[in-house]
Symmetry: D2
Subunit: 248 residues, 4 copies
């Protein structure tokens, strides 16, 4: 457990180059800010990858050396190549953790892993959100209070079209009258997936200590388990461990 | 609840035309046999669709008039067109039930709905399987005993790469030493999905009363809930039900 | 499924006799009002039982003839005899449904079934509650819209100390800033348990159509499954179905 | 995470004093053997407590200084005082981990935490058990292969009357024809509970490396999360974080 966790922070990285308002908040990109606060921790080594790099920065080699992948996308989900989505999915099912943030709910990889639309209601009014801890036994809730608030957010509301979570760590309240399962955890194959609602390209949410703490906890939780199976993609013809007779 | 449930039994329908051994057991196809025992029940109206029909028999109209789709495939999963898989997935998320049988575990539609590989171990030795009821409160266990046996089966063994089930209704024991989660139930969007392990193209498993009973129970359980939402594919901009002020 | 469902509505029935404000809303007791709207449905036969009857009205015979028990209690949870709680628990584990309403969260029987404190935050300010459907595939959501509101309620807020639900059918929003898992469903043994938050002794909540619809749906969902096992209280020495040799 | 985990291994400790066959396998008691292999690990400090000590060795002070409690009992479950069960339950709900072994399934504390009978089928024939990993993403599966075997065991078979597990880490196969959910994990309140089937008073199961590895993994997994809530026993009147107006 004391091993270094190798994180790759993936970002679409378009807004930051075309929209001054976004660049003012995240001058080096959202990915750089996330990698920065993770690298401030011991035992975490965070690099980055972005959409416009070759293979979106997610080569076989990069993925083989990634323990946990963090995913941020917004407007260009459709530009992510299906082959890369296939590759990332297989890497997750073989043990890599995946942490999906905010508008990443509509990314190809999250919808692929969930098997559902991952649709929701939304509103950009800058209202207040209060995230309640609804599974205080979960390691992702470590170090938090009973709730925390984010002063200005884009609202996401139920029904959130996702599978029944293994754990719903956070449930949000919004000023406008909605609720949302804001932190949901899943085992998938040999890997783990966590979706975390907060985040935005212009609200400075990834500078907020509670948000950083949750992402940090999620990274530690999602790090691979060194257990059985290294390739779950095939169905194997299997010889019996027991001898038996087939009766008529 | 007294409404008629409209079922479509989908079958790849290739084995039966090319392999005499299969045709001897299912002369009109596996789909015909399944539709037959369902149509013997009151309040169920079962039709069929097969791979080689136009649009695999799964037109928009057929799906719009299907409450529960039963899926059997084996060797030709790859020939199912992705557009049809997309269409079936959306219909499920909007309320249609899906019951997947045996080798359908590797169908495109089941893997799509699960988000995982759905891989497993297998062996064709004709050994004995004993299915234990592991959720006796579930309606799919209605009318069964503590277990039932199938005398000759193809074995499927764990690890079965599927998401955590909402319920594991059956767990199987095999002579050769394996176990398997043989009946697993999921809510997905507004729809329900049930995977049931038994079935084979040459063993006469779909003639066995307990197997028929489970499929019948599964059809009743998976029939659509008349609740909210008719299209979960899009994220809607949503006006607040509450008036509120955004504070600085 | 067309069989009549026999319901017993249990009520503490103290408030109504001592508090004029409660008697004004429920002159014959909360139990009478709930039994009344259930009896207006076809295929439901609802009777009542109250704390001050012998054995709290829950004799072996009454329970043997009850398919679904509805529970309302508030101030006198401690007066329910432990023997009766034992008896009700065993009847549930052997198949009877249990629907617990509002302040019944702190009843002995609900805490017994959950194994947790079932504690929560509360406030009596008469604020507005909005219940969002968070599992539209669940039969308990049948016939409802995306949400419904109750104009004046006692607030219950998270953390609600309950086990991970099998399904969270409703999640509530409150004006004062809290959220709550307001409709939670569980399988326990051969029986089913549903907790539904709405209800109060002076707000006329059990006259509201959506609330009545949910309770009705819950009764239909919780009706017993006719499956295996009639007594789950004992561990039985079990003879093997397979012959085997023990090796050194 | 590098903090020392303080474990208390609780044992009924009767068999070992009265039955020579048991004493031959566990001369200092099962608790001593379990504490021994845990103390061989870094960062674990394991002590013991037994039934015949004052307060069964589980004083307020002992529990306050216990991060994870391991429970073994067999014949004397009924002698455990209800006050101590109450105390242990509250400590778990406030964060302490609980690991229950083998015949502890029928202990008062496990049945209290589960809310069910925890009954099962059993047979003492010394047959072979094969435990399959059915959740390879779970940290309790760390370091294991696809399955492991125990050569001679007492069989436990389904239906195991427990709540739907948060995770079923292991599922067992037995020579005589049964299956069993042999490693099941739960969050309860702020605490975690793991039940692990293997173990026996005369078979030397707690000397087997795979069994020791699972118990060690379970201890690490069940160690308390330092999150919100220090007392979940009471429902608190809660002042709103939002200002609001109650409308007519």
């Amino acid at each position: 457990m004391a091993d270094t966790i190798r994180v790759t922070v993936w970002n679409e990285f378009r807004h930051e180059k075309t929209d001054q308002e976004v660049a003012d908040v995240y001058p080096d990109g959202i990915h750089a800010q996330i990698a920065k606060f993770l690298n401030d921790e011991g035992n975490i080594d965070a690099g980055t990858a972005t959409l416009d790099e070759p293979e979106h920065g997610l080569t076989e080699e990069v993925l083989a050396n990634t323990d946990v992948l963090i995913w941020w996308g917004h407007r260009a989900h459709g530009e992510v190549a299906d082959e890369i989505v296939d590759r990332v999915q297989q890497r997750i099912l073989n043990g890599m953790g995946l942490v999906v943030l905010h508008s990443g709910h509509f990314s190809k990889i999250f919808r692929r892993m969930m098997g559902t639309n991952c649709s929701l209601k939304w509103r950009e009014a800058g209202e207040r959100e209060r995230l309640w801890v609804t599974d205080p036994a979960h390691p992702i809730a470590e170090g938090l209070g009973e709730f925390f608030e984010i002063p200005h957010v884009e609202m996401y509301g139920e029904f959130f079209d996702i599978p029944t979570p293994d754990s719903t760590v956070f449930t949000s309240w919004f000023q406008g009258g909605e609720v949302f399962r804001s932190g949901v955890a899943y085992h998938r194959g040999k890997g783990k997936v966590f979706y975390f609602r907060p985040g935005h390209e212009t609200f400075p949410i990834f500078f907020q200590p509670e948000v950083q703490k949750v992402i940090l906890n999620a990274v530690r939780w999602a790090a691979p388990t060194k257990g059985p199976y290294s390739d779950l993609s095939r169905a194997l013809n299997y010889q019996a461990n027991e001898t038996f007779e087939v009766e008529d």
